[in-house]
């Protein structure tokens, strides 16, 4: 009798294990018997999330090849329109002209918000758009002028290839000048470290990166958080789009559905973006 109990116990565990693992891999199952290649190019902000998704798909099914290139939003739209790639990523909506010329379908799978941050010791918690523009242009140089201590403002900005900087420059600064004397840091992480260790610093980070080490600054009364960006009340944000020429079919359609599936949205959230679902 004891022998049988042990065997039944083991079988039950094995059965549960089979069911459990199958349940977890459901999103990748659609790729099971596929072969082929997917060529992706365009915005650089999309690359980390796309790479993570591609790695999962390719390890689940080695017969699928996914190549991801950068080049920027403009390049992505042009290349997908000319049929050079299957998916063209862009950090902006293609213009009506581009949609008409190439017959593009757009799919938004994440939102990237950019918020102004200061050191937690700083008394200034809110600024207006005009004040922000003047601070970054170098016209307001002392914290006292916006309600803080009598200390020079230390500006921090990002390098020119940064998508975060581009959103900030276009939407928050309205394409205004950034003081050439501003310190340049190479990543969101470096920006957080810089602002967290300098009590008189002001900078900007992707909203998904904001944590307890820095304080977000309300812009025109709206504090940058994941919720305000998702609702649309915080305007300094852009959607991350994947565009296809016409309706996507086959492997391309499956990839886009994967990005919009719970697993894909989780990848987007992990990379610091705001999922759309």
């Amino acid at each position: 009798m004891k022998k049988h109990t042990a065997r039944i116990g083991l079988l039950t565990i094995a059965l549960i294990a089979c069911i459990a693992t199958q349940g977890r891999a459901s999103a990748l199952d659609t790729f099971k018997n596929e072969t082929g290649t997917i060529k992706i190019s365009g915005g650089t902000a999309h690359i980390p999330a796309m790479k993570a998704a591609a790695e999962r798909i390719m390890s689940a099914n080695p017969n699928i090849q996914i190549s991801i290139a950068g080049g920027g939003s403009g390049v992505g739209i042009k290349q997908v329109g000319e049929g050079l790639v299957d998916i063209g990523n862009s950090g902006r909506t293609p213009s009506d002209k581009e949609v008409q010329k190439y017959g593009l379908n757009m799919f938004k799978w994440a939102i990237d918000g950019v918020g102004v941050v200061v050191n937690p010791q700083n008394a200034v918690k809110a600024v207006t758009s005009d004040q922000l523009k003047a601070i970054f242009a170098g016209k307001i140089t002392n914290w006292q002028q916006v309600g803080g201590a009598n200390k020079d403002i230390d500006l921090y900005t990002r390098d020119e290839a940064s998508g975060t900087r581009e959103v900030f420059w276009k939407k928050a600064l309205n394409k205004g000048d950034i003081n050439p004397k501003a310190n340049v840091v190479p990543s969101n992480g470096a920006m957080k470290t810089a602002v967290a260790s300098d009590p008189y610093a002001i900078g900007f980070v992707s909203v998904g990166h904001i944590d307890a080490t820095v304080t977000p600054v309300a812009l025109d009364g709206v504090i940058p958080t994941l919720d305000t960006v998702k609702q649309g009340t915080y305007k300094v944000a852009r959607g991350l789009f994947s565009n296809t020429k016409g309706s996507p079919t086959g492997l391309t359609a499956k990839f886009i559905n994967y990005m919009l599936s719970p697993e894909g949205q989780q990848i987007a959230a992990q990379k610091g973006f705001i999922p759309v679902k």
Partner: protein
Amino acid sequence: MNAEPISRETIAHTIFISAAWLSAGFTLMIFGFMAVLGYPILRDGQLFKMLTGPWSPIHQNYGIWPMIIGTLAIASLGLILAVPLSLGCAILIQVVAPRGFGHLLHKMVHLMTGIPTVIYGFVGIFLLVPLVREIFGHGSGLCILSASLMLALLISPTMILFFAQGLARVPRAYLMAATAMGGTPIQRLVYVMLPNAWRSILAGLILAFGRAVGDTMIALMLAGNAVATPQSLLDSARTLTAHIALVIAADFDSLEFRSLFICGLILYLFTSLATLTMRWMVTNHMQRP
């Protein structure tokens, strides 16, 4: 029967000559590679504008002048701070306390040469930058001064080892002769050891200068990387190396990216010029022993 040993010699000779030519060839090939890839700029006649203008891609300005000044300022200040420190340490190791503290220092310096540059940068961000900020009261602490201080610390261990080795290689006969004539240890140092160790000191200097000019991480993490031409030691500055690191993510076909090859060429020329100048100084100013 005599043929065998001779052909072995020729084989060895050929191998070594090929190795020498290969390494010299690689060095020239790097120069050629940068010149060829930077050709679109040279062809458009933009070279002068690029070497003397400001950096502002929005306004179509791809000048690297601020970066040239940044590199020169940080490298020179770093060297100026490091050379007396290194010379002093080397003298301590070889002359003043060769069997006590000097021996311990020597071992520690050996360890320091193995520390990766990024560690220095890290330590600089968390310890040096707040210190500089507090001492001077204004500014973010990310400036030429911070970068130069950390750079001096970075290049010192290599220099110390070279200097110490140079001082140690002075023939004992010279030292004994000096002592026999009644020379004190300091007189021995100044009149016998240093002139004889000149070659090693120079080699150490050249190596340190190359490293100072070519270091990326410390400048990237501590100097601030502002695009404006620095006006004072407390201004944020960008070096050619940090510039390459920051712009390399740009679109390959853009003029922005091409300017990086010009940066590389300038760095190459700086180091070559410095090396040639120092070697010229040896042959002209010092008698050969």
